[in-house]
């Protein structure tokens, strides 16, 4: 009985430790949060989250349908390093950037798989993704994912050894 109780307690502790220390609760807490400021990345629904590992797997799987990957942050930082095959479409926080985004996707079928990313600064501070996501949503796109880069593109993509391309 004592052994069983000990085992049970140990398992509960293990689960608690894992849940509290893993990065996912942090992600969950940041998504779709009540009271997220308008336009912030925090307004993006959790279901639209795409983790870097998942995108990388998708990109290296030959048989997988490749999404259209759009960077909606700084052009200079895109030039420094971006996901191969991704396109720069202007800053989501700027009207001109949103117009550029609209022009790029306007002729596409609304079921087109699109991945937005930025990585300019920590997720909860990103001014670009929220408006860009809302724009695509308002245009009727139904298959839009947003790459979750918790800290920035360098830390959460480039430094993980995922492919990076330079140039504008």
């Amino acid at each position: 009985m004592k052994t069983r109780l000990t085992w049970l307690s140990g398992t509960i502790v293990a689960v608690l430790v894992f849940v509290l220390l893993s990065p996912y609760p942090r992600v969950q807490a940041q998504f779709g949060g009540i009271g997220a400021p308008p336009g912030s990345a925090l307004t993006i629904p959790q279901a639209q989250l795409l983790m870097p590992e998942a995108l990388q797997k998708l990109l290296i799987t030959a048989s997988a349908e490749k999404p259209l990957i759009l960077q909606v942050g700084s052009h200079m930082m895109y030039a420094e390093g971006h996901i191969p095959g991704s396109e720069y479409v202007g800053q989501g926080s700027q009207p001109a950037g949103l117009q550029q985004l609209q022009n790029r996707v306007n002729s596409l079928p609304r079921k087109k798989s699109i991945v937005l990313y930025c990585g300019c600064c920590p997720w909860n501070r990103c001014p670009n993704l929220g408006p860009a996501f809302a724009k695509l949503h308002d245009m009727g796109f139904t298959n839009v994912k947003v790459l979750y880069l918790a800290d920035n593109f360098g830390t959460d993509w480039a430094n993980k050894g995922y492919p990076v391309e330079q140039g504008r």
């Binding site: 140990g10 930082m77 300019c120 920035n152």
Partner: protein, 176 residues
């Protein structure tokens, strides 16, 4: 007892230790990336024109302790740091501290406007991708390099950093 759980349970749980070990391993690895590239190496030299149209040559600051701060107008955490940098420039400038800003904005007008608004008292240059790559790839802001009076990078701070800890690190490098 910890949170009502018998010590025996904690001791016996190899799973706890395994999970902790894995978690620490993953997080230690991810935290180490940004800090390695330029540390204890000579800070890459560059010459650019600042927003006041003056020539800025990093080499000319040898003998001073430099905080080289990459920022942008759209970066909220960057703007939280800047008033403190202004205060440091006032307080520690006479002891050999020089703050230099590098705006990674695509548009210099936006940078100039914020520099005026925040009354920055240190030079700011416009960056570009080459300068960013020179500093190991500025792929996320803010990022600040602490460069000692010999021109070597002593520390690199990425993301929202405790400004008190930066201050504690550069103070011993300054003149009394």
């Amino acid at each position: 007892m910890i949170m009502g759980i018998p010590q025996a349970a904690l001791r016996s749980s190899t799973l706890v230790r395994l999970l902790l070990f894995l978690w620490l391993g993953v997080h230690a690895a991810s935290a180490s990336f940004a800090a390695t590239s330029l540390l204890h190496k000579a800070a890459p030299e560059f010459v650019r024109t600042d927003l006041n149209h003056r020539r800025l040559d990093l080499r000319a600051y040898r003998g001073k302790v430099v905080l080289l701060n990459f920022w942008a107008t759209w970066c909220a955490p960057c703007q939280l740091e800047m008033p403190r940098f202004v205060a440091w420039q006032n307080q520690y400038g006479p002891h050999g501290l020089q703050i230099i800003g590098v705006s990674m904005d695509d548009d210099s007008a936006a940078a100039s406007s914020l520099v005026k608004k925040l009354k920055l008292n240190y030079p700011v240059v416009m960056g570009n991708e080459k300068l960013g790559q020179l500093y190991g790839g500025v792929m996320g802001l803010p990022i600040t390099f602490l460069i000692d009076s010999q021109g070597k990078v002593q520390a690199q701070y990425q993301g929202e950093t405790d400004l008190n800890s930066i201050e504690e690190q550069f103070k011993p490098l300054l003149r009394p």
